[in-house]
């Protein structure tokens, strides 16, 4: 009989470990001046240093060091007064040097922590995830495996290498083991990556785009039999590339390992690959034979020894913590929990804040970005901010607040701006979208509506107020939707003696 998630957790306790690789958003590479632009033509961003040509010498990018220290500080790490680079030697064509320059036994940041808050059916819970180290290294090139089953290594005839990505600054953030998360392990893993991503974004050190690979997560998981106190063998699931996948990978590994153990088999220490379609993992390289990277200090680079003054300057530049900022904004805008989460999940908090900073009412700003604009953006698979600017939205909201646009007219303005008909005021002029606020014009339409439906009008006169709805509708139609319905209702009822 096979175990499902719940029954697996009755018998086993999961232990997590998470390794996150984040590409920094520096202009140039870690050790050379090559550009780091994403999506450039193959091998247009390489030089003798990042191609590992003989005689070339690396020099460390200062901003990469500062970004790494900022990450360490934001994760409550100690910054090492002395740290070094090492060569991690391996033969694989994704690194033309035959080694990756990385930090090994002397990383720049150690011993931090990150509070991860997750929602559970027992209310919100906070798990403190301890950080082992934050270190600097460089990204590898991109391989394209040709022939056989395309894209996969097995059965490939040959591989094609693009070294544009080789040498882009990469920071690896490694947690200590995360014990006692129980059934919440998948949510804690996901929550950790989400919280880390928010921090990295607030520091402006990375694009943190999981789908483009600038943030990648490896999930380590092991199970121990409840009460045994013995840690099990762990598997490492590589390159899990979305928050949802992180959660699914942990869930999937718990079930897979529990079933193996339950049927008397062993968990093999190995690298596994996450399969996006099924949420399962498949085995990759076995790690039974421990890798021997023959690390040694990089002789071409001198140590990084940040002094107290440098570190304090960086500490002073730390932005407000995302979790604190969220609480502050939620209070200031009086947003209910559920709506706040929706805004955060849609990654529209910054956008809404910018709109509010331009004077827009917070509730309106939120409902326009999350409602109409997100809806159109979803239909077209683009980001809401690709469609319309913050200042255009702020302007439209201001006109609604002033009573110069109804919600219905405003939707047309948004539509026009998205269709590139111009600025909000140009769209309003072109489409003649002004609210009819002239009472005499409204009265003319009201008289017309009453003349067309005298029986309905009589009902209203006789006290049947709901019947006015049809007449208001008719007036709105006559004014092309450009009247303020509340004002029409007021005038109409007064006119009919109500």
């Amino acid at each position: 009989m096979s175990l499902n998630y719940d029954s697996a957790l009755e018998i086993y306790e999961p232990t997590l470990g998470l390794e996150v690789h984040v590409e920094l958003n520096t202009n140039s590479k870690m050790f050379c001046g090559c550009a780091t632009e994403f999506g450039a033509q193959p091998n247009t961003q390489t030089c003798p240093v990042c191609l590992g040509l003989p005689g070339s010498l690396p020099v460390v990018n200062k901003r990469a060091i500062e970004s790494t220290i900022l990450i360490g500080l934001a994760l409550n790490c100690s910054i090492a007064p002395f740290s070094r680079f090492a060569r991690k030697n391996y033969f694989y064509p994704d690194m033309p040097k035959n080694f990756q320059t990385s930090q090994y036994d002397e990383p720049i940041c150690v011993n931090g922590s990150l509070d991860v808050e997750i929602e559970t059916d027992e209310g919100n819970k906070v798990f403190k995830v301890e950080i082992e180290r934050v270190h600097m290294e460089e990204d590898t090139g991109k391989s394209l495996h040709v022939g056989g089953s395309t894209g996969r290594i097995h059965g490939a005839d040959y591989s094609l290498l693009d070294y544009n990505r080789a040498g882009i600054p990469l920071v690896e953030i490694v947690t200590k083991i995360v014990p006692n998360t129980g059934k919440y392990a998948p949510l804690v893993a996901r929550g950790y990556v989400a919280a880390l991503r928010d921090i990295l974004r607030s520091l402006k050190v990375s694009d943190v785009k999981m789908e483009q690979g600038s943030l990648r997560c490896d999930v380590n998981l092991s199970l121990s039999k409840r009460g045994s106190g013995v840690l099990g063998t762990r598997s490492e699931t590589k390159n899990v590339n979305s928050l949802r996948s992180v959660e699914r990978a942990v869930t999937g590994e718990i079930v897979r390992q529990a079933n193996r153990l339950q049927s008397g088999e062993k968990v093999v220490q190995e690298t596994r690959h996450f399969l996006e379609e099924s949420g399962q993992t498949r085995p990759g390289r076995s790690k039974e034979q421990a890798e021997d990277y023959r690390y040694f200090p990089e002789p071409d680079l001198v140590p990084v020894a940040p002094d107290g003054k440098w570190i304090e300057e960086l500490r002073k530049s730390l932005p407000e913590k995302p979790a604190e900022r969220r609480k502050r904004l939620q209070q200031a805008w009086a947003v209910p929990d559920k709506e706040m989460r929706a805004m955060v999940n849609a990654e529209l908090l910054d956008t809404v804040e910018q709109t509010v900073l331009l004077g827009a009412d917070p509730t309106r700003a939120r409902s326009w970005w999350l409602g109409e604009i997100s809806r159109i953006a979803n239909e077209r698979s683009v980001l809401p901010t690709d469609l319309i600017t913050v200042s255009d939205v702020a302007q439209i909201i201001e006109l609604i607040t002033k009573g110069e646009l109804t919600d219905k007219l405003a939707r047309q303005v948004v539509e026009g701006v998205i269709a590139k008909e111009g600025t909000p005021s140009q769209v309003i002029a072109k489409r003649s979208l002004k609210v009819v606020s002239d009472d005499s014009q409204l009265m003319k339409a009201i008289a017309e509506a009453i003349a067309a439906a005298p029986e309905t009008a009589q009902k209203v006169r006789d006290g049947n107020i709901p019947a006015a709805g049809a007449l208001i509708g008719a007036v709105m139609k006559l004014t092309g939707g450009q009247a303020d319905a509340a004002r029409v209702r007021q005038l109409l009822l007064k006119h009919l003696g109500q």
């Binding site: 520096t26 202009n27 140039s28 050379c32 001046g33 090559c34 550009a35 033509q41 193959p42 091998n43 247009t44 961003q45 390489t46 030089c47 003798p48 191609l51 040509l53 020099v59 460390v60 990018n61 200062k62 901003r63 990469a64 060091i65 002395f82 070094r84 030697n89 033969f91 694989y92 064509p93 033309p96 394209l144 495996h145 022939g147 290594i153 490939a156 005839d157 040959y158 591989s159 094609l160 290498l161 693009d162 070294y163 690298t271 690959h273 990759g284 390289r285 021997d292 023959r294 200090p297 002789p299 680079l301 001198v302 140590p303 990084v304 020894a305 940040p306």
Partner: protein, 98 residues
């Protein structure tokens, strides 16, 4: 006792992807043992007051500003490659690894 065994030398050769005959292994194991012995003598001289060093210069924090400099053209980058295709370096298929 030897500082390095013949098996260790064979393992290093494997890690460095250098193919070696039995005779070469015998020969090198002996030579490397002599080299390591000489290094060990230096280690004996260094007292507890001498910090380990990885670099002959007592400097740190040599950095460059984050400024983009011109790269090679793809033609230049690929000019030394034994094979290329689609503006990429072409390498033999990789076996037994993922």
């Amino acid at each position: 006792m030897a500082a390095i065994s013949r098996d260790e030398v064979a393992n290093l050769a494997r890690l460095a992807r250098i193919s070696m005959s039995d005779a070469e292994l015998d020969h090198l194991a002996g030579e490397m043992d002599v080299i390591l012995g000489a290094v060990a003598r230096v280690q004996e001289v260094a007292g507890a007051d001498v910090p380990p060093t990885s670099h002959p210069l007592a400097v740190s924090n040599v950095t460059r500003d984050d400024v983009v400099t011109p790269s090679l053209t793809p033609e230049q980058a690929l000019s030394g490659a034994p094979a290329s295709s689609e503006q990429r370096f072409k390498v033999p298929k990789i076996l037994g690894e993922e």
